[in-house]
């Protein structure tokens, strides 16, 4: 036997010969011949359950139809995916789902992004033969980030698996049985009563509109149309990387110029960049790290930009709070700076400024509402919309996105660096911080700006940076809360000898955030990551402390990093959450 035949099998699918790895399921094998068997509960990155029954196929000799997403391939297997009984059964299964599903597709937020709708269309379902009782359940709109509409749920349990496998939070479970089955948090509690981090990963895997971001676009339209308001917008590093996908571009297409042009045409008075504030964050965080190292402060210090991560610490590990950098997230720093520094410079009454942010993140909606974030004397960030909502606004006004010109951000809060650009990727904040920390500590110029060891999609990455003079800084990077939990446990057990670690709650970092375009998978995230580092390599400035607008901000107004004004505007504190069911 050759080594190839030991690891692969030969089978036929619809009469076509297929050689597939032994470990494959029928659904995976079918893809090798360009055949996508319809499916709903199956998700390539999650454990397989085979519960929706849409992917049923016929295997010759098998007692009944089998679920191809879980059924392993076998030597000599003969599979039929389009036989009359398969076609009829598949249709019936989907019709049964539709029989217990609201038919408000026209008005549904997932219209044209819904996998159930897509399958119904693909299968050519023109009517539902079954009439009966429908599940009645209350919408959960208890929190600023995520809306849960159980009537739209098809019980596929992707959210259950995503929350458990990616984040280790296990917020959802299948509850009750039979017709009364429902997917919900323990005791039917709202997401604001359980340990939900608001990361929104569940919204990225939900095939229907059972889990979606809270849509705040109307608030933005209201602000823009109010003549008394001066509406400024900031866009996070990851938005320009994901947005193009909403308009048919391939993953990893960066659309910064068109995005800026679109924001102007939507009517924002100033189009600024969260990247500017990311550079501020690095100035503060890098100096805080050096300060902690020099003065024997609490180490390891952990980044604090990811609100899903912050929520996780405040809920699950309040004893870890002293390890968090007190630096606000870029969104928070931007908000506090725009209503003070910018307002002063532009001679605009900050009371009239509405500060909007476009984020790849659902948890940012909650972050903006944190009681701490009003150091400007006003609410620092008034409205947060996700990349998906932003795309919706562009479509609402009929902008021909692809033919928009490339435009530049407004000054001064639109100037940024490669260090800020990479904030969107796991490891990016660490790398940006190291570029600045190294130069500030040693007074020497970095020869190689690329800290390759902290890049990429490994769950936890570790690296050491020789600062010279016998000082070595040890760092670690984790993405997803499941990996973050490991670093937290290590730290609390006193076994973490890191000086600094970075956590981003979402897979791949913010570029894989809960507010990014559908769908997201590992390949898409990798394409977005590659684009980010490519963009960084071509930036004029690649270190936050060399951003001329940042230098001017600190020289003329903010003072020193960690100084009095910076402390007041750019730093925050964290508090344990009250009673939440864990």
């Amino acid at each position: 036997m050759s080594s190839v035949s030991e690891t692969t099998i030969k089978m036929t699918i619809n009469g076509q010969d297929v050689t597939a790895p032994k470990s494959y399921t029928i659904l995976q094998a079918a893809r090798l011949i360009g055949l996508d068997i319809p499916h709903l509960c199956y998700h390539p990155e999650l454990a397989r359950e085979g519960n929706c029954r849409v992917c049923l196929v016929e295997v010759e000799g098998a007692r009944s139809l089998v679920a191809s997403c879980v059924y392993p391939v076998g030597e000599g297997m003969k599979v039929h995916t389009n036989s009359p009984s398969v076609m009829e059964t598949r249709k019936t299964v989907v019709e049964l789902m539709l029989a217990n599903h609201p038919r408000d597709c026209l008005f549904c937020v997932k219209n044209q992004h819904c996998e159930l709708q897509q399958i119904a269309a693909d299968l050519g379902i023109r009517k539902v033969r079954f009439q009966g009782e429908k599940r009645e359940a209350k919408k959960d709109e208890s929190n600023p980030s995520i809306v849960r509409d159980p009537e739209k749920c098809i019980l596929c349990t992707r959210c259950v698996r995503a929350c458990s496998e990616r984040q280790g939070l296990d917020i959802f479970s299948s509850v009750n049985r039979g017709f009364k089955s429902i997917v919900e948090p323990a005791f039917g509690l709202g997401l604001d009563e359980v340990a939900c981090s608001y990361c929104g990963q569940c919204t990225t895997v939900c095939p229907t509109a059972a889990l979606t971001e809270k849509d705040d676009t109307q608030l933005v339209w209201d602000a823009i149309s109010d003549p008394d308001k001066f509406v400024v917008v900031q866009t996070a590093p990851s938005v320009r990387i994901g947005l193009g996908e909403e308009f048919g571009l391939k993953s990893g297409s960066i659309v910064t110029g068109k995005m800026v042009a679109a924001l102007r045409r939507l009517g924002f008075d100033r189009v600024f960049d969260t990247d500017f504030a990311a550079d501020q964050t690095i100035m503060e965080e890098a100096h805080e790290l050096l300060h902690r190292i020099k003065t024997g402060g609490v180490l390891p210090m952990a980044t604090s930009c990811s609100p899903g991560w912050i929520n996780f610490v405040e809920t699950m590990h309040p004893e870890f709070i002293p390890h968090l950098s007190t630096a606000k997230s870029p969104q928070g720093m931007f908000g506090a700076t725009v209503k003070t520094y910018f307002a002063e410079r532009a001679a605009i009454d900050p009371a009239k400024i509405v500060s909007v942010s476009v984020m790849p993140c659902t948890a940012k909606k909650w972050e903006a509402k944190r009681p701490q974030l009003c150091d400007s004397g006003f609410r620092d960030v008034d409205i947060v919309i996700t990349t998906r909502e932003f795309a919706r606004m562009i479509k609402q006004v009929g902008l021909d996105f692809m033919n928009l010109p490339e435009e530049d951000f407004d000054s001064p809060m639109g100037i940024s660096t490669g260090a800020a650009q990479i904030f969107g990727a796991t490891g990016g904040v660490m790398e940006a911080a190291l570029r600045t920390a190294y130069e500030k500590y040693t007074g020497k110029e970095l020869e190689n700006l690329d800290f390759i060891a902290v890049r990429g999609l490994d769950g936890i990455k570790e690296a050491s940076v020789d600062m010279g003079g016998g000082v070595v800084i040890k760092v670690a990077v984790a993405h997803t809360l499941r990996n973050a939990e490991k670093l937290v446990q290590k730290t609390l057990a006193g076994e973490a000898d890191y000086h600094f670690f970075e956590v981003m709650a979402c897979p791949g970092g913010c570029l894989g955030g809960g507010g990014q375009p559908y769908p997201t998978d590992r390949e898409i995230r990798q394409a977005r990551i590659d684009a980010i580092y490519d963009a960084d390599a071509h930036m004029k400035y690649r270190k936050s402390h060399e951003n001329p607008a940042i230098i001017e901000l600190y020289d003329t107004w903010m003072g020193q990093p960690l100084g009095e004004r910076a402390h007041h505007l750019l730093h925050t504190h964290f508090t344990p959450w009250g009673e939440r069911l864990k």
Binding site: D170, V194, L581
Partner: protein
Amino acid sequence: MGEKFAEKDLVKLDGVLADLGSQKGTLIPVLQKAQEIFGYLPREVLVRISEKIKVPISQIYGVVTFYAQFHLMPRGKNIVRSCQGTACHVRGAKGILAELRRQLGLGEEESTTKDLGFTLETVACIGCCGLAPVLMVNDETHGRLVPDAIKGILDQYR
């Protein structure tokens, strides 16, 4: 945990958790023992179990709501099971059930009396169709029922 539970019951629960808590696949036996101790499965007890055996509370809630044997609400001292099987149905089980509700003062969605004296449940078949319509109170069977007999039967347990 609040003062709702007797200290001795909590000690018993901790004993069960100490005995069974570290084994794999222990959730259902632990839930059964806990229900024996408390009569039902209060939220606080489930949270304590979750913390001890490291099974997420959402999963425990999923299991508890899946099986009919587990109860999230306090149960009455006496359990009344009114049979709604085919034989009982044709011999007037609906009327018996309505009379039970009337005598116990229970609304359509309620199952336990406020004084925790009785919990009323329906079952699909008790297995003595010859006595239809039939009900059970705890372990005792009462058959060939007419609505007028209900009050007398319940009074035996008050």
